[in-house]
Symmetry: C2
Subunit: 927 residues, 2 copies
């Protein structure tokens, strides 16, 4: 449609661009956020809703559609806007009883942005619009307060010249050396000249002089006069707000937050009210409940004779609004409750009405102008994790919200806060960041630096808390990683070895801190000029990825938190998909079960070789993989058998009554070849071979692309005896538990399959051993049912899932590998290109963190659809890292999986996500 | 259906199990191969078809259904068979005028196998059935030839005891020390005793005595008498033939040839005729055309007074049947044409009738018994490549066959024979195989052993022919590989580096010869005890994978063969899909164009760095990849630009008028890091960095799984300037040709894409450079159209092909990588597990050789379907190795691709396959 036509259309349909509010009514309401922005919609709601009708300074909102039009039409406004704004001004004038630009009884207005979603501080605001030489004089007459008026005037010039005259015009601060800085300099000069320190010490005369100086400076620097015409001021302000939607900061913020560029911002024009008109004035901000704890108590701060920005700026210590809000800092300061009991009562009453109306905790702003209360803002209040959980639980109990709403009130990241100790945010703010990395394992950790896994173990034994610092980690470091309280690596991404292991344990971890240069020889690392030696204390914030020098205090995790427990109960009532855990040890299994896991979705048999305790199993395994004949391998497997059986049995016992999916040996054998010289020598000696022969055997295991090499079921096909012994260990472990009259549900999972014949081949072995075990233990097959399934982690397996399903009883999607193969992205190597992919927006998310719904997700859908075509009751789950990612959990539910499985510390998050996806559906269906 | 029911059903429906032939009629015909086997069907055809009615000894065929029944029913026969066999015997008796078991006028019969498809020598035969003490006497009376009769008798015992009494009974030769060997020993004893050397020197009395000795020995060794009852002999023979269907040799053969186990064999019982009844008897085999050259001349051998096996056995030198068939060996021997002119005329007449009837070259067997001609067998004759091509062309010209039939008469492997020199098969037969490997590059090669690429180059410069022997090869060896006449590696599979490179050049190559142990230090290799030193001569048969010590003669390739050229013309008339080539050099392009390639489907820009000529480009490239800033990279790319442009230009010129698809840089950069110390030092010096810094930069390029690492378009995204310079080189090369008024069609192909945004990103660069080039050269866009497409080689790209197609103009399936990612099989590492997969029949074929239709093929289908949904005219091709595999070419046609592309020496095979798939369809549609 051509521009002219749009104009014609707008004229004909008389599009409403301006929505009025105030004086006990409003054109809009809270639901119109898309059109009016969050701020505008809430102002309309407060002003106009029949249950509220709160005292809101009159104003109007210019819609986001105008912003969109503005950018589509070469920064012009739609026709009709001028007239509607004019009407809006008339409305304000009539409600407030003042007149815009009137020298006798002038109306001042603010111009503020307001997007659909809050973008705090990212766009511009201009206050006090309408002041000029004439109206200032009029206002002085009215208020009898010249100091206040000139202060407002100089603030207007300061703000307007910066925002409207410089930034909005696209003038680079370099050219002007920054009008804001230059006016501030003038302010400082004035202070020096007058011999004072604080702004508040200026007299009315001082400020009047400053206004003159400012105006001169503006003309000098920007080559233009500060506009005296109130209408020019107003339209300049509106234009500046619209332009700030595409300012650098706002664009960057939208990119991070995923806010579409075409939403646009609304503009709110509202009558100014002043909390700085004397001792009968004041201003304050408050939360309807405590945002740090969730407690159902009114919580807030105020300041007498002050404007809103003074409370936030932190120059004056704010006063508590009531006794409950009193802190160390404010212990001797008067509360609003005491100082203005009537006003406090009024606000307290508004608090209750607002909570009942919005059914949530709110963040409100108010101003008292000469004893009259004005509500300036209200919006759903930000809260931390513990508070979110407590409020959700309590509001649900109060029947303020439904169970679905309760579930949706807590973001996964908020729940995560409850699971890990965190660095004290106050102290953290005061501390310089030493280095930044990727936040791989959330929470905080404080410990002394060590550089080897061995040292981590040794120091810990001696009672030290250590942080293991490595270039990157590998399976040989696992023991040290477990011993350490935190892990820091210089290389690797969010799915590197360190990140995976740490997340699995809920351990604080930062990876890929590229500024860290480690010198293993000297046992130290450097960040620019700072040298950190072995034994030095450092603190990690694994939630943010920040490293600090020294010891910062930690705030304990609230695992025992009663509200957490109750909240999880609500989630469990709502969710439908089952949640299991990926656990390889009895400890992990126990932890996960406590968190609500309903079984194990992935038990990695190979893990035992890197666990705590004896080195013996690993040594025997190494002998096995270096064997050259089946006979040798069988001998080693024989030695290994009891270790395997015991390892499996312990975890089966912990998970009594729940299914435990045990994956057969998966990694390429080369991974087990020792790197340490002493270990190699021990092996050579034990195998009684030459070093040359040892090299020959190990180099034969080496692979160019091990991820796509001889691993998973391919090992079981080449060496059926490996499968045989593993399966025997599983069945005998289970049988021994059955003999104790306990219920046990092992499920055998074959990894890395790409054709149904692989499964058939392995099942022959499995069934043979199964029959032998039943016989040996004299057990009925009902007491130990045979369940064999497969990982689906190779793209081909998805494509032929109908055939795969015909020979097995469950699918477990291994989305890590499926993402690797499906994208052709080696997880170990994405550091080379994924950053530029994300930066250039070629991928919007790291597909190893959240399932790539479009591609890998489609493969999963094909897999499930084809699989269920053959076997309608096919059990389907996921056991990749994605099983603990909330978005991915929702996807899994939507595609019809029976369960997700994730590391123990992700179990609560998975349960929450599983509940949220159902809650969203239920709420949508109700509508 | 239960056994009894089948029996009842058979009785009711009177299933025909026995088909008679002979005496001018037959129950069956040539089309009934499934039921009667090849042999039985052809005997029936010869005997019964109205155009033929040839003199075939009467007989009957027991159907393959009986064999199937036999194995399904615990080795029992269906009821009714006995009676039908009895009737069959009656038929033979009546036609031949003899009686089975009659002491006066005995009929002897042969019992032979006959499967649907020929399985030469894999199953059993028993001759002379019906002989015993009594019938022998009768036969002597009739023939007056006791020597002949006792010879036949002792042969019966020898064969029967071995085949029926030992093997068919499942007796292991170890237990009996082998009855065959033991009787042979008796024969030798007898010879010694009589002081003679040849069987023919035995007198009738000697043979009679031998019969007695044999019978005694049989009883002694097997504990059972040789059966004198002719019926027992007959049924024993039939049973032995059926049992031999599941003999070890037959089962193994079927597995290799892909013949289903449930086809079963037929059994042919036929009257014996004897070519060894005196000088008026004889026997022969012949081909209706020369099977070695294809010439339309009758070609065969015969022997007077001999049985069929004597001709084949090679004890007596066979005589030529005519002058044409006379060879060096038979130059003084009488021809059948001369000796028995009438019989020869009769056969010559039969030859013509048979060819006209069968419309193909036939292989016939005949016997002359006392002056009477009997036809014993006729079947389509085996032929070598050149003969197959010539016959196809000539028969098509003779209008004996249609163009479709002509195209189907030549197997791809036969056509391949014409493209490479081959080892003289006669000499090869006489030579011991030194080692066996995989047949990676077909044809033969003779040369002196060298162990380094450098030596290969140096020796060749000195005029030597060399064979390069390596553990495995890598890109640095390429120059030496090109210099060598053949390549032999100890490791690697059919798709290893050596195999790919050699096949691309049509060079003889054997890979993965595991028995070869190379000692680079000592410059020698060992195979068991044989030591082969540098400079020793060896011969490779790359078609079979055999290595020979010494120099074997080679037979030249028939590339200039006129029939080859004419045959390709026929193929081109029939085929519909286009055939391009994968070529990186002007030489390859020229070769492929001569073979009929209609463009280049894959030109790898990186190839120039490993080609012949200057080392300079590789050196500059290395500088580029080790650069740390864009500025440094641009500087190196500037230096590289002219090399790139000239390299591309040469090939574009050779392919004038045809499209040339140029792929942007693909391999992970680490591949280019030099391994040789001198080269590393040169780079360090030139870059003016420390060795430490060099190590740091190169180790940064190292990847754990390079195949899924930073390669392909990922390089172009991270370093857009690399794309920019490459594209500039392409367009400027093309523009320079356009300026010469020549037609040029470059197509730019982006590799390793997994999302459409990658293409969009690269296209921005490409379009910018394109516009600049048009401007610089002042060319109209019509003269140099912009065509940008992508490889589809990542599974995700198939899944989202609708989106991929929306931003590009063609897809080229990179099936090598698609197979790697789709299966999760690293091509470099499959040596560890693929052999056991093939051996255990988990995969029936190496998916890197023939497209895995079920899995990867399905991904391709999804890709094409989705792609064409967005862009119905999307051009689709393939440029993986599979483009030269005949089965895969057919698949590509069937899924609707526009073209296939393969290495130059595979072009004729691809053209043939492309024609065959159409021919098969046309013929099917006609029916």
């Amino acid at each position: 449609m051509k521009k002219e036509n749009i104009a014609v259309k707008n004229k004909l349909t008389k599009t409403k661009y301006v929505y009025l509010f105030g004086g006990g009514k409003a054109d809009g309401n809270e639901k119109m956020k898309d059109l009016l922005g969050g701020k505008g919609a809430n102002l309309a709601e407060m002003a106009g809703h029949r249950d509220l009708k709160l005292p809101v300074p009159a104003g109007f909102t210019i819609t986001t559609e105008v912003c969109t039009y503005f950018y589509k039409n070469n920064k012009k406004y739609p026709s009709g806007l001028k007239e509607q704004v004019q009407k809006g001004l008339k409305h304000i004038e009539s409600v407030m009883g003042r007149k815009f630009g009137d020298p006798e009884n002038p109306l001042l207005v603010s111009v503020r942005s307001g997007a659909r979603r809050s973008m705090p501080g990212m766009m511009e605001t201009v206050l006090n619009i309408g002041l000029n030489e004439k109206t200032a004089e009029g206002l002085i007459k009215q208020t009898n307060n010249p100091r206040f008026v000139y202060d407002a005037y100089r603030r207007l010039i300061q703000m307007y010249s910066d925002v409207v005259m410089e930034k909005a015009e696209g003038i680079e601060p370099q050219e002007t050396k920054g009008i804001r800085q230059q006016l501030e300099k003038e302010l400082e000069n004035m202070k020096q000249k007058k011999g004072i320190k604080l702004d508040t010490e200026f007299t009315a005369e001082d400020l009047k002089e400053l206004v003159k100086i400012y105006k001169r400076k503006v003309k000098e620097v920007l080559g233009k006069e500060f506009p005296e015409d109130p209408y020019e001021q107003l339209w300049g302000g509106i234009r500046a707000v619209f332009l700030s939607w595409n300012g650098k900061r706002a664009v960057a913020y939208r990119k991070i937050e995923g806010i579409p560029d075409d939403w646009g911002t609304a503009v709110n024009v509202q009558a100014m009210v002043f909390g700085n008109m004397g001792d009968d004035s004041g201003t304050g901000v408050a939360f309807t409940r405590n945002p740090a704890t969730g407690e159902d108590k009114f919580y807030g701060e105020w300041l007498p004779n002050a404007q809103g920005e003074d409370v936030v700026a932190g120059i004056r210590t704010p006063y508590p609004i009531n006794e409950y809000s009193r802190s160390e800092h404010s212990k001797d300061l008067p509360s609003l409750e005491k100082q203005f009991p009537k006003i406090y009562q009024q606000i307290e009453d508004i608090r209750k009405r607002l909570e009942k109306h919005y059914r949530d905790m709110l963040d409100i702003e108010f101003t008292i102008e000469k004893g009259k209360l004005w509500m300036l803002q209200c919006r759903v209040g930000k809260r931390n994790g513990p508070a979110a959980v407590r409020m959700a639980v309590e509001m649900y109990k109060e029947k303020l919200i439904s169970q679905e709403e309760a579930v949706l009130r807590v973001a996964p990241s908020q729940l995560d806060e409850l699971l890990h100790p965190v660095v004290d945010p106050v102290k953290e703010k005061e501390t310089k960041v030493l280095a930044k990395g990727l936040p791989a394992g959330p929470g905080g950790a404080v410990g002394r630096v060590v550089f080897t896994a061995n040292d981590a173990v040794e120091w810990t034994k001696k009672g030290e808390q250590v942080i293991l610092v490595r270039e990157e980690t590998n399976p040989e470091d696992v023991e040290g990683m477990r011993a350490a309280v935190g892990i820091l690596t210089a290389r690797g991404g969010m799915t590197s070895h360190a990140a995976l292991v740490a997340r699995g344990w809920g351990k604080c971890c930062i990876v890929g801190a590229g500024d860290i240069h480690i010198d293993y020889e000297e046992k130290r690392f450097k960040v620019k000029d700072t040298v950190v030696k072995e034994g030095d204390w450092i603190t990690l914030n694994g939630t943010k990825g920040n490293v600090y020098l020294g010891r910062l205090p930690l705030i304990k995790a609230a695992e025992e938190n009663l509200f957490f427990v109750e909240f999880m109960k609500i989630c469990n009532k709502v969710r439908k998909i089952s949640v299991r855990t990926n656990a390889d040890t009895p400890q992990d299994a126990k932890k996960a079960r406590a968190f609500g896991a309903e079984g194990i979705g992935l038990f990695r048999t190979e893990h035992m070789f890197y666990g705590e305790g004896s080195d013996e199993p690993l040594f025997i395994l190494r002998k096995m993989i270096l064997s050259t004949t089946e006979e040798e391998r069988r001998k080693a497997l024989d030695e290994l058998f009891n270790y395997m059986k015991e390892d499996i049995k312990k975890t089966l016992e912990v998970m009594e009554g729940f299914p435990v999916t045990i994956r057969l040996l998966d990694p390429p054998l080369h991974e087990f070849v020792p790197k340490r010289k002493d270990e190699r020598e021990k092996l050579i000696e034990n195998l009684a071979i030459t070093e040359e022969e040892f090299e020959k055997r190990t180099s034969k295991l080496h692979e160019v692309n091990p991820m796509m090499g001889h691993r998973g079921v391919r090992l079981g096909i080449a060496y059926p005896e490996i499968t045989e012994y593993q399966v025997k260990a599983i069945f005998e472990a289970a049988a021994e538990i059955v003999k104790q009259n306990k219920k046990v549900l092992p499920e055998i999972m074959i990894p890395v399959t790409s054709t149904e014949k692989e499964i058939v081949h392995q099942k022959q072995i499995i069934e043979k051993v199964y029959q032998e075990t039943l016989k040996k233990f004299n057990i009925d097959r009902k007491k130990l049912p045979l369940v064999v399934g497969t990982m689906i982690e190779i793209p081909r397996a998805c494509i032929i899932a109908d055939k795969m399903a015909s020979v097995c009883e469950f699918f477990s999607f291994g989305t890590n590998d499926l993402t690797q193969m499906g994208f052709g992205f080696s997880r170990d190597d994405i550091g080379g290109f994924l950053p530029s992919y994300l930066e250039k927006n070629i991928l919007s998310k790291d597909p190893f963190q959240t399932i790539d719904f479009e591609g890998i997700g489609e493969l999963i859908k094909i897999g499930i659809t084809k699989g269920r075509k053959t076997k309608p009751n096919l059990k389907v789950g996921i056991c990749g890292e994605h099983g603990g990612d909330p978005e991915s959990v929702k996807f899994c539910y939507n595609v019809g999986m029976n369960y997700v499985s994730c590391s123990p510390y992700r179990v609560p998050l998975a349960i929450l996500a599983a509940a949220q996806v159902v809650a969203e559906k239920n709420i949508k269906n109700k509508k």
